[in-house]
Each structure stands twice: as structure tokens, then as C-alpha cells.
Amino acid sequence: MASMPDSSRAFRVPKPSGLYWICQAAGWTAYLAYLLVVIVVFAGVNNRGDIVSMVVVFAVVPVPLTHALRAWMYTHGWAQLREWRRKVRQVAAAAMLAAGVTMAIALANALIHGRPWIPAANLGWMFLGWDIAFGFWLWIYEAVHARRRRGELELIARDAQLRSLRAQVNPHFLFNSLNSVRSLISEDPQRAASMITGLSDVLRYSLASDRQDTVPLAEEIHVIDEYIGVERVRFEARLQFEHAIEPAALAARVPPMLVQTLVENAVKHGIAELPQGGRVRLEARVREDHVEIVVTNSGRFKPPEDDSGYGLHNARERLRLLYRERASLAVRDDGDTTTATLSLPLEPAT
């Protein structure tokens, strides 16, 4: 039932349940009994023709007619929520149908017996009542089901979203690094070899990052160090990196590749955009019940046209899905430096 609700499903007429037939039979029998009591006992009608024709009418007319009405209601989208205009039109149509049935019965009676037949008016109103009651029932039933379906869908969507929001290795980084390695092979084989191991660590970590919702910060920082090592080969003296991590923060759990994304954004804006290069600083500390991770870089934060703005957006979405309002990510532009501050609760993610 994970599929999106489509209109064809809502406009199909479902097979009626056993309960529906029982309600139909019991309801109309009870109504007939009530009318008989009223007419025979209280109104003192004892014309056998009248009573027999009433029983016949009640046995033959209401169930098929309301059953047809039910099918009509389904095919005309009564089970659809949020269709006010249509509903108003339908109630009007049902009222007219009820009036029409009343008139038809009264007219038939008048032709056969030479006088209109009073219970016919009652029957007409019963149709209208049936119609409204069934409509309400449908409406409530659908609302409850829609809510349950929405709940299921939300769970599935959250999972898929988390999966798609995982930061993957940026292809630009990957191919530029491979190009640098190719160049290093002849220039400095030793460095080329160590760059390949560093790059492998980053790739492995990135590819495995959808297996866990969170990892210890220590693991993330190890990969960030490897990542910076690779970027240093590309940017050489243009990239300076330092970190200050409180030992207590190392055990804090963070979503994988999230801090890395912040560092990568810092490198992209702080270093790649500055011809003279710049500095990236990573700090982590424990504050009461949360861990605070701060990434600072030289250079302005300009909401970029390329994918890194998307990266930040994804990071925020991931935080919202994992922690709801208990985590935050703020990016501040101080003119010549940019600071990203991430705050995560120390208790496990939901």
C-alpha cells in the first residue's frame, strides 16, 4: 500500500462487505416496522391494500435504489476528500433524487388508489438521510485510512530521503584528485602512493555511509584528515587546515559525511575560490547535553549556483529527519571568514 493515492482507485466502487448488507436489511426492516407501528397502531389505518402495498414498496424499492446510489456516490468521488464544491452539488442532487422518488411514489399511488400516499414522503426523506449518512461514513472512513496511509508513506519517505540525502563524494573532487595522482606518479611516486590510500579511505567511508545513521565523531574526523590530505596535494600551499577537538567530543555520534560536507564546503569556498588560498579550522566541544562542531574558513559564503548550496540544504534536511528540532546548523558570513556551527544532541538519534 506504499503507492501514491491515485484517482482511479478512489473512483472505483468497492465490493460491499457483509456488514453493509446486514445494515441495509436491518435498517430498512426496522424502518418498515416503525412505520407499521405508527400507521397501524397510532394512526389506526387498517386498509389492507395500503399496508400490503407499503410492505411491497419497502421490500422492493429502498435496497436496490440505495445500493445504486452507493455506486453512484463512489463513482462520483464521494470517497475523495477535499472536494467541497462537488459535495455540495452532490447533496443537492441527492435531495432532488429524494424528492423525485417521493413524487414518483406519491404519483403512482394517486394513479392506483386515487389518493397520494403519506408514507411516501417519509420514504423520500429516508433516501436523503441514507445518502447523507452514507456520505459521512465514507468520508470518515477515508479520512482515517488516508491518515494511516500517510503515516506509512512518511516512514518510507523518511528512509528514502535519508538515503538520498547522504552526502556522496563530490565527483569534481574525485576526478581532480585522480588527475593529481596521475601527475604525481611521475613527479613523486611516494606521495602518489599515499594519496591513493587516502583517497581510498574517503571513498570507502562515503560508500559505506548509508549503512548507519550515526558514527562516532572520531571516525568522521579520521576521514576528514584523509580528505584534507588529498585536497592538500591539489591545492598545495593554498590550503591550511587545523583542528581543535575536545577528547570528550570524540565519542559523540554524528551522521556520517555530514561534518565532512561542512569541511568540503569550507575548502570549496574558502580555498578553491581564493587565488591565494586560505585556512580551514575544525573545532568540536561538548556543551551540556549536546556537541558543538564549528567549521571556519577564510572567504565569504555566497549562496552558490552549483551543488554546494544543495549540500547544505541536504545536511539540514538530514538533521531534521534524524533529530527533529534538537539539532541545528547555522552558517554565518563575517565578511572575510565564514563559520558553520553544527549542534547535535548527545543522546542517540531517533
Binding site: 565527483p171 569534481h172 574525485l174 576526478f175 581532480n176 585522480l178 588527475n179 593529481s180 596521475r182 601527475s183 604525481l184 611521475s186 613527479e187 596535494v233 591539489r234 591545492f235 598545495e236 580555498i271 578553491a272 575560490e273 581564493l274 587565488p275
Partner: protein, 230 residues
């Protein structure tokens, strides 16, 4: 062939330099690490082929192209910019994906060598960027520049993108013997003129091969008459 390499990463530049060593007729005459340096090198060097990275600090490869009066024969080198490269409507250039395959480089050089070297200089080309789309357009293909506020609409082939440039700035850059300032808001390529019709007041209306009609101001009509009767 004189080659200029523009890339912000030293290792990328030295890798390309090394790959070019296999081609005896190619000489790397310079390197640039950003757009500013590239503009300087292009001004002082005779460059037959330009290897250009797209993502660079302080101005992308596209920004560099927009600053040039004419675009030299061009090969983009890019790690993963296929969307940016695909933005081009006309394949007026080649591009290489990094790390570069020696065979692909050889093919790109063959293509550059195949351009016939005549006494006449190759037609000047300009870089046109409008939103997501880019063109490298030979000026000989441009029929008309039309001003729209602070922008100018460039008519070539079926395209007419807007570029951020005033007609006065364009006029200063263009060859006055080919591009004629018809009025405050039009510069026409005289080679595209199909017919000239006279209008009231001794002024003219120029009909271009692309189907556009351009009114010529009275003052410029006099000059047009002189130019065309020569």
C-alpha cells in the same frame, strides 16, 4: 603551435604539459593559474591553442572568455563539468576530461591542426552567455546587435540571446567597416544587408538576411549612403 595552459592546480598544469611533450609541434609558451593571469598571458603571447579549466578561483573559465575580445582556438579541460560543457549550443571547441587520455588529447590537437592556416586571420569569435546557455560565435555570423535597456540582443542564426553589454561598448570593439551603427539602438552587420528601402525624411530601412528590418536614423542614413556607394 603555441599552447597556453590555464588551470588553478599546479599538478594539473604539469600533467598536461607532460602529455603535450609527446607532440613535437606543440610548444607550451605559458601557464596561468587564474583568469587574471590568463588575460595577461593572452595579451603578450601569440597563442594558437588555449587549454582552459572551467572551475578556477576568482573567475571561472567562462568569466575569462567573457573578458576576451576574441576567443582563440579553445580546448576545455574539466574534471566533471559535463553540464557546463553541454550548455554550449555550438561545438566550437573541444573538451577533455581529466585525467586526460593521451589519445583524446591527440585527437583534439589533430582537430586544431586541421583548421587551415591562411594568410587571412581566422574570423574573430566572441563568447555569448545567456543564463544556462553559451555560444562561441564568429562575428561574421552575427547579423545584428539591438539594445534593450542595459542589455544587447545578439542575432545569429536562429538565436537571439541577451548579453550584458551596451551598444557603445560593443561598437568600440567591433570592426567599423563591417558593423554599422544604424541608430541609437542598432548595430547591423553590413554583410547581412539584403536590401535598403527609403522611408520618409530621407532616412532608410535596412532589411537583413535573417528577416529583421532595422530603421536607420536620419543622421546615420547619410553615412550609410556614403558607405554603400563606395
Amino acid at each position: 603551435m603555441n599552447a597556453l595552459i590555464v588551470d588553478d592546480e599546479r599538478l594539473a598544469r604539469s600533467e598536461l604539459r607532460r602529455l603535450l611533450q609527446a607532440h613535437d609541434d606543440v610548444r607550451v609558451v605559458g601557464e596561468a593559474a587564474n583568469a587574471d593571469e590568463a588575460v595577461e598571458r593572452l595579451a603578450e603571447l601569440q597563442v594558437d591553442i588555449l587549454f582552459l579549466d572551467i572551475k578556477m578561483p576568482g573567475g571561472s573559465g567562462f568569466d575569462l572568455l567573457e573578458r576576451l575580445d576574441t576567443i582563440p582556438p579553445l580546448v576545455f579541460t574539466t574534471a566533471y563539468d559535463d553540464f557546463a560543457v553541454r550548455a554550449f549550443e555550438v561545438n566550437a571547441f573541444d573538451y577533455l576530461l581529466k585525467p586526460i587520455r593521451p589519445e583524446r588529447l591527440a585527437a583534439a590537437l589533430d582537430k586544431a591542426r586541421a583548421v587551415p592556416k591562411t594568410a587571412r586571420p581566422a574570423p574573430e569569435r566572441i563568447f555569448v552567455r545567456a543564463g544556462e546557455r553559451c555560444w562561441i560565435v564568429a562575428l561574421t555570423d552575427v547579423a545584428l546587435f539591438e539594445s534593450e535597456g542595459n542589455y544587447a540582443r545578439v542575432y545569429f542564426g536562429p538565436n537571439k540571446p541577451l548579453i550584458r553589454s551596451s551598444l557603445n561598448a560593443l561598437e568600440a570593439r567591433l570592426d567599423a567597416s563591417v558593423f554599422f551603427r544604424a541608430s541609437r539602438s542598432h548595430i547591423v552587420n553590413l554583410r547581412f544587408v539584403e536590401s535598403v528601402e527609403s522611408a520618409v525624411d530621407d532616412s532608410y530601412i535596412v532589411r537583413l538576411r535573417g528577416g529583421q528590418t532595422v530603421p536607420v536614423s536620419r543622421r546615420q542614413s547619410q553615412r550609410l549612403r556614403d558607405t554603400l556607394s563606395l
